[in-house]
C-alpha cells in the first residue's frame, strides 16, 4: 500500500489528522511523519502564553501512524469500509517537549497482531533524531 492509499483510508480529518506521510512500511513496522503547524488550535490553550504540543496529541499522532496506519496496511484486502477501531491501551513516557512547527517522525514495531488486537512499541522522534516519546500502544481492529 502507498502512503496516499493508507492516509485516504484513515478515519480522521483536520483538525484531528496527525499523519502527513508514511515513509517506510514493512510487514511488522512502519515509519511516518507529521509537522505540527504553528496554527494548530490546541496551542491557543496549551499552555497559556507558552505553546507546547500536548502529550495527548503526541500520543494520538503515535497511534494514528504507529497503530492505525500499520493496522490498515496489515488488513489490506479486507473490507476496510466496515473497519471499526478502538484504542485500548497506551503506556507512554514523555522525554522531550515538541514545540509548535516541529516535524516529528513516528517509528513503530509490531509486538503482536492476534485476534484483531494490534500491540506495538512506538517511538516519536524530533528532527534531531532525539526520542521525545516512547511507549507501547494497542488497539482493536474489527472488520465484521
Amino acid at each position: 500500500m502507498s502512503s496516499e492509499e493508507i492516509i485516504a483510508l484513515l478515519p480522521y480529518t483536520a483538525p484531528f489528522l496527525f499523519v502527513d506521510q508514511i515513509e517506510e512500511l514493512g510487514d511488522s513496522y512502519i515509519v511516518g511523519s507529521y509537522t505540527f503547524s504553528r496554527e494548530s488550535y490546541f496551542y491557543e490553550g496549551h499552555f497559556k502564553g507558552n505553546p507546547v504540543t500536548p502529550g495527548v496529541i503526541l500520543t494520538e499522532c503515535m497511534a494514528q501512524i504507529g497503530l492505525v496506519s500499520l493496522g490498515i496496511s496489515k488488513l489490506a484486502g479486507q473490507d476496510l469500509a466496515a473497519l471499526k477501531l478502538a484504542f485500548t491501551s497506551a503506556d507512554v513516557e514523555f522525554l522531550k517537549p515538541v514545540m509548535p512547527g516541529e516535524k516529528v517522525t513516528v517509528v513503530s514495531e509490531e509486538a503482536y497482531f492476534r485476534f484483531n488486537k494490534l500491540k506495538c512499541n512506538v517511538k516519536l522522534l524530533n528532527a534531531q533524531d532525539e526520542v521525545c516519546v516512547k511507549g507501547t500502544l494497542a488497539g482493536i481492529f474489527s472488520t465484521k
Partner: protein, 82 residues
C-alpha cells in the same frame, strides 16, 4: 476439569480483572466478559498468556468458544492432552 489447570487459568485471569471484580468472584461458570467484566482487549491478553503458560496455540475461531472459565478450560485441555 484438572484443578491445576483451573488454578493456572485463575492466576492469569486475575491480572486482567477490573478493580471492582475480585479474584474470589472467579468461578468455573463465570462468563469472562459479561460477569467478570474483562474487556475484549484484555481477553486477547488472557488468551496470549494462556498460550505461553500451557505452550499451546489458540486459533482465531477458538477464542469465541472461551466464553466462561469452564469453556476456556475445555479448549485448553483439548490441546494440552493432544
Amino acid at each position: 476439569m484438572n484443578n491445576e489447570h483451573y488454578e493456572a487459568l485463575k492466576n492469569i485471569i486475575k491480572i486482567y480483572l477490573p478493580e471492582d471484580v475480585s479474584v474470589d468472584d472467579i468461578k468455573p461458570t463465570s462468563h469472562l466478559t459479561q460477569e467478570l467484566n474483562v474487556n475484549s482487549a484484555n481477553l486477547v491478553d488472557i488468551v496470549l498468556d494462556v498460550e505461553d503458560h500451557f505452550d499451546i496455540t489458540i486459533e482465531d475461531d477458538e477464542i469465541e468458544k472461551m466464553e466462561t472459565v469452564q469453556s476456556a478450560i475445555e479448549v485448553i485441555e483439548a490441546k494440552v492432552q493432544s
